[in-house]
Amino acid sequence: MATATLHLPAGAVTVDAAFREEVARLSGQPLELCFQCQKCASGCYPTQEGDYTPNEIMRLIQYGARDAVLRSRTIWLCTSCETCGLRCPNGIRIAEVMDTLKQMAAARGIAPAGETGPLFHNLFLSEIRAAGRVHETMLMLKYKLKTGNLFADMKLGWQLFRRGKLPLVPRLKKDPAVRRIFERASGQE
């Protein structure tokens, strides 16, 4: 198939039809129905800080702009609040699409510069794998250590600790069943 190059304000993107099909298949969403009404974007507060609005992400997927989409900051700003999908006149669950994009980017180890979302999610999941439950105190500490931003929330952490909201010894649930779910999910079993 001939490749085409599109020149967008965000830069040149190579059209990749396989990407469009892959996102449609993995998310199970009728991406082709998006007609850019922008209802999703008008209700989306978190991604206002991102590089694209949700409808722009949908358009870029239709173009097959694999790199632009998977390297976008917007996908990591989506909190899955489902406002977009609720309001979409064509029934596209955009949060499912955003999840799919995050999963694809995470699987390929792609993230925009400075984005710590994937790191946070991996720490979170390794807490579950190791301990069955998430020990919030430990998770916050590990995240701070990994990002080198140890002091940003120190005062806040102390306030929470004093009120008994960051227990040092949590009730964990080490569970071989959970470990097996992780093995099956990564295709090891």
Binding site: P46, L86, Q103, R133, A152
Partner: protein
């Protein structure tokens, strides 16, 4: 009435007062909450962000545990509730997803147990009339902005227990406690949820907007049903903003005259006592 109870990880830490108040209020209403033995994390937002199989498998594992107990499952945390409901919905309506979940979590799904949020139980099973009968100290004059957050009623096909754009269950409950729910437009606007650690500056903007909208609507306090919302609204607020944020179960405990209620409220980062003293709701 007996239910299996799934507190979730946050209710053991940053949301501890939600856990304590839910258990106390359930007791006062004659609901028996039996903690689900061996419950594990539902996967939260991290699982569905990076691994589809983990999102389904971790939630299905807890549904499997609840199924073994044979009792319907009550989940106070909106985030856990959504994850568990979503997995349940997929298993119930899609044979391929059911087979995938059964393989991942190593069980056989029967569909016999239902999943409820604690708000849903209070509102639909107990009912506002019964709640009003349990009130000893009505919250008269207290104006509250009911903040549902985004997850409690979404997506609507997964849990249609209240309206997805303009829910009313918390407002009706607050009114049954004697408080005055104010109309406002930010009931389901996202607080930034799990971005609190990775992008605090984004959460700060969202939180400031929600709190100022509550104030403009004339509210003395906000009411939530989600530990992520409650924490974000307190931790990431502008320094000068002092409007308290309660869990609905705390307001129930106060209105029921439960002696342990002040103990929960001391755990808040924003001191709610001056407000409550103004309304003679604490000693």
């Amino acid at each position: 009435m007996q239910y299996s109870y799934y507190p979730g990880c946050s209710l053991e830490a940053t949301g501890v007062e939600y856990n304590l108040s839910t258990r106390a209020v359930a007791g006062a209403l004659g609901l028996e909450l039996v903690e689900l033995p061996g419950w594990t994390c539902c996967g939260s937002s991290s699982a569905h962000a990076v691994n589809k199989d983990l999102a389904l498998g971790l939630a299905a594992h807890n549904i499997a545990l609840a199924q073994e107990q044979g009792r319907d499952l009550v989940v106070p945390c909106s985030a856990c509730y959504t994850r568990l409901c979503k997995a349940d919905h997929e298993m119930r309506h899609d044979p391929a997803e059911k087979a995938r979940a059964e393989r991942l979590a190593g069980f056989s799904y029967t569909g016999k147990i239902q999943i409820y949020s604690f708000l849903e139980i209070v509102k639909d099973r107990v009912g506002c009339d019964e709640v009003a009968r349990a009130v000893r100290k009505p919250l008269t004059g207290l104006k509250v902005a009911c903040y549902y957050g985004c997850l409690l009623v979404r997506p609507p096909e997964v849990r249609p227990f209240d309206r997805a754009e303009d829910p009313t269950s918390l407002d009706e409950l607050a009114a049954a406690l004697g408080a005055e729910p104010v109309p406002w437009c930010y009931k389901t606007t996202c607080c930034g949820a799990g971005l609190s650690l990775t992008r605090p500056e984004v959460v700060e903007q969202l939180v400031a907007r929600i709190l100022s909208a509550a104030r403009e609507a004339g509210a003395d306090a906000l009411v939530t049903a989600c530990p992520l919302c409650q924490n974000n609204l307190e931790m990431r607020r502008p320094a000068q903003e002092g409007i308290p944020v309660f869990y609905f179960t705390e307001l129930m405990g106060l209105a029921f005259g439960l002696g342990e209620a002040p103990g929960w409220l001391k755990k808040h980062l924003v001191d709610p006592f001056p407000l409550l003293q103004r309304f003679s709701l604490v000693g």
